[in-house]
Amino acid sequence: MSETTVRPGQEHYVAPLEETPLRAVDAVDDSAPPSSQWGEAWRQLRRRPLFWVSVVLILLVVVVAAVPSLFTSVDPRFQTLADSLEDPRDGHPFGFTRLGEDVYARTIYGARASVVVGLLSTVLVTLVGGVVGAIAGYYGGIWDALLSRLSDIFFAVPLVLGAIVLITSLQSRSTLTVSLVLSLFAWPQTARIMRGSVLQTRSAEFVTAARALGLSKLQVLVRHVVPNALGPVIVIATISLGTFIAAEATLSYLGVGLPSSIVSWGGDISAAQTSLRSDPQVLFWPAAALSLTVLSFIMLGDVVRDALDPKARTR
């Protein structure tokens, strides 16, 4: 076919300029407000009802944990055997335990142990796991080999099993020791996530650019690599906060967690078990409080993950 042949529908066509106005090449759009990555994530979060539901629930639990006396004037440790397993009545909306303690007061006061153990363990795990993971991922080589094997050793021990074995050999138990023991067996997960995240960030061009500016390796790690690798760690921290609360309750239920002098949901669930058939409400309230708290943190973790990693979002 000759070059000059024009087939039907293929005549030389030029769009009218008024319909296809030419824009300046690569002009900066000044209209939109500036937004950082975190600002963008916040905007995402703000729109999710699930985020607000979990935030309100978590705030409520935190306030209850901080000042339980706002919510009840009854002493959770006060026992009147005459009230043993009594039904709810005025001033005692959830009824009484076998030992005649007020279930409502115990549920309110139990929040503190859970929240303290959850927060403390999460902070410890994030610090230790984050630092170990960052060093292993960033420096690699012998550091990676040593730290990764070390975390594998702890990873191999199931959280609750390891905690039971260690705690039973401890003399004194408190919220601090329980948190320490939980952290000891939980940090490898955070370390692994941090390591993977750092490995990904480490090879980015902005890291090479920073090194070419003359920053030392440590400066690059602290200023550029860690802030960019933090997203997944924040997500796992939020979710594991709930897991730690559940783990503490498990230990207390098994009688190896917090001592009975500290009011805790796990301990109450354990004590209520004996009267489960006849009086299930004694078990119901601490269990419901526990579930709701754990659920709130896991929901929050979910929405935070969606906001920080839009790719993982399900439509």
């Binding site: 087939r7 039907p8 030029v14 950082s36 439509r315």
Partner: protein, 588 residues
């Protein structure tokens, strides 16, 4: 856009050769994507016609809607995309709103597709032969033993030697070019009448690119397959297609016979595109040397007319007289990498092998080569980012491999890099202000106030408004980010800037803009550039000297004009011939 009359006139200029009814007719196509609750118009009123056996190219930048148009034709719009208007007539039947089942029937047998990225479009867990057979089976063509033979035949047809053995291999055993051939075999397996080729070779090296396109062309010609070629490269499109469709911001701005569009572009966008097409442009941007002459002239004129202020301003400009002084000298430079995990002692790879060249102050030297030629490794060693195995890099007479910590830190101020990927070279958690300020802070230059003034000044130099200071990299386009990267590189008043594929990831118009900017800055600041690129067209526009590398060795090193006009080595000649559209003559 106005609805275009597409009445099939009987015949046409050459009635016998031209059948009236087109194979594919897209009329007033509109495609929307839904994004955070809003409808984004990806394509608006696009019309195009493809006749049987013809090659038609859609040309446009990223975001122009060219790929979306093609995806609508084959019913594979990603995510939330949907056709909201217009018609897609295949053999006169409207398939714009065809059901999923109808499309499954059409795909493969009527419309085939060769995707863009050969690295991710083959399933790594199945053999290549299996994937070709899958295409046959899906269209009910061949099953069992005969399919095996047919698959090998198709692979052979797509230009793979030893096809029967190759069919039993896995994708990771194939090179990029071979994978693309396998994808072509799959695309043509059921003999579609229309083949959509979406940037089929843009992930490949130029010499491989040419071979694959040549082969695809001869194959589709012999089979009588019509091809809808999607590309960002005007030169490539003009060379391969009879009919061009130019898209811009989701609309067709111009369409018509390829040569006519190239020689007499009517729409201002097309004119801009033709003027900027790197593969067609063949001039060095005004070099520093030429500008120096202009400056001297201005100086003389100012002195003569006693315009003191002007004379002073001109005298303040750096002396851009072309020096023959060498600022970087690379001698017997060698880099050996040990590849882990292969063999007990690890396999040695000589990435850079006895490389010698020199860079003169105030000029641009380009290192050209295909992927794996070692050009980026050379850049990293010049930047003192990785240790050299052997040989030396001297900067201003000092061997940089012998610098102590303090000297190495000071060296950083004098040599700065700009990297390829503008999406990865800026820390996403840093605001533009912090990105540009960081080098000043690291080197302890000035106080907070003077640093801010300097950042403003730098952003102004790279033509970004001061308001962009508070923005974050994710809000800027690729070209804008690259300008931020340039501002960062210039913050410390470096003498040498190493540009590692600094414009390869950008659209042509933006590419032209950045190259002009770099060139202006060179003249203004007396910078020396070491330009690492695979794109000879870019070399032609910016470089004074060229070093051609292949497999870690220098093949040819000479002034740019010498290399382009009289290449000495076969490899250089092959590279030059592979530039798409290089042979097309443009109208003035």
């Amino acid at each position: 856009m106005s609805h275009r009359e597409t009445s099939p006139r009987d015949g046409g200029p050459r009635g016998a050769a031209v059948t009236g009814a087109p194979l594919l007719q897209v009329e007033d196509l509109a495609v929307d994507f839904r994004s955070s609750g809003r409808d984004v118009h990806a394509v608006r009123g696009a019309s195009l016609t493809v006749h049987a056996g013809q090659t038609v190219a859609i040309v446009g930048e990223s975001g122009s809607g060219k790929s979306t148009t093609a995806q609508a034709v084959i019913g594979l719009l990603p995510g939330t995309g949907r056709v909201v208007g217009g018609k897609i007539l295949l053999d006169g039947r409207d398939i714009a709103h065809a059901s999923r089942r109808e499309f499954v029937g059409l795909r493969g047998s009527s419309i085939g597709m060769v995707p863009q990225d050969p690295m991710s479009n083959l399933n790594p867990v199945w053999t290549v032969g299996f994937q070709v057979r899958e295409a046959l089976r899906a269209n009910g063509l061949d099953k069992g033993v005969s399919a095996k033979a047919r698959a090998a035949e198709l692979l052979k047809e797509a230009g793979l030697g030893d096809a029967e053995r190759r069919a039993k291999q896995f994708p990771h055993e194939f090179s990029g070019g071979m994978r693309q051939r396998a994808l072509i075999a799959i695309g043509l397996a059921s003999r579609p009448r229309l083949l959509i080729a979406d940037e089929p070779t843009s992930a490949l090296d130029v010499t491989v690119q040419r071979q694959i396109l040549d082969h695809l062309q001869s194959l589709t010609t012999s089979l009588g397959t019509a091809v809808l070629l999607i590309t960002h490269d005007l030169g490539l499109a003009a060379e391969r297609a009879e009919h061009l469709v130019v898209m811009y911001k989701g609309q067709v701005v111009e369409s018509g016979p390829a040569l006519e569009i190239l020689q007499r572009p009517q729409h201002p966008y097309t004119q801009r595109l033709v003027a900027a097409a790197p593969s067609l442009a063949s001039r060095r941007l005004e070099s520093a040397a030429v500008r120096a002459g202009i400056v001297r002239q201005a100086e003389r004129a100012a002195v003569e007319t006693h315009e003191v202020a002007v004379a002073e301003a001109v005298a303040d400009l750096p002396d851009t007289e072309v020096a023959t002084e060498e600022v970087i000298r690379v001698e017997h430079l060698t880099k050996v990498f040990t590849i882990r995990g292969s063999g007990s002692r690890g396999e040695k790879l000589r990435a850079v092998d006895d490389v010698n060249f020199a860079v003169r102050r105030g000029t641009t030297t380009a290192i050209v080569g295909e992927s794996g030629s070692g050009k980026s490794t050379v850049a990293q060693m010049v930047l003192n980012l990785i240790p050299v195995t052997d040989g030396r890099v001297t900067f201003d007479g000092v061997d940089i491999t012998t610098l102590d910590k303090r000297q190495a830190f000071d060296f950083r101020r004098r040599v700065q890099p700009i990297f390829q990927n503008p999406y990865a070279s800026l820390d996403p958690t840093y605001s533009i202000f912090r990105v540009v300020e960081e080098p000043l802070r690291v080197h302890g230059i000035g106080d907070a106030k003077s640093r801010e003034a300097r950042v403003r000044d730098l952003l102004d130099k790279v033509a970004l408004p001061a308001s962009s200071m508070r923005r974050f990299p994710n809000e800027l386009s690729g070209g804008q980010r690259q300008r931020v990267a340039i501002a960062r590189a210039l913050a410390l008043h470096p003498e040498v800037v190493v540009c590692d594929e600094a414009v390869s990831a950008l659209d042509v118009l933006v590419q032209g803009q950045i190259l002009t900017l770099l060139n202006d800055l060179q003249a203004e600041l007396g910078l020396t550039y070491l330009f690492i690129t695979h794109d000879l067209a870019v070399v032609r526009q910016i470089a004074d000297d060229v070093v051609v590398m292949q497999n870690g060795k220098v093949v040819e090193a000479a002034p740019t004009d010498t290399v382009f006009d009289a290449p000495q080595e076969d490899y250089t000649k092959a590279l030059l011939e592979a530039i798409p559209g290089g042979s097309i003559e443009l109208g003035a």
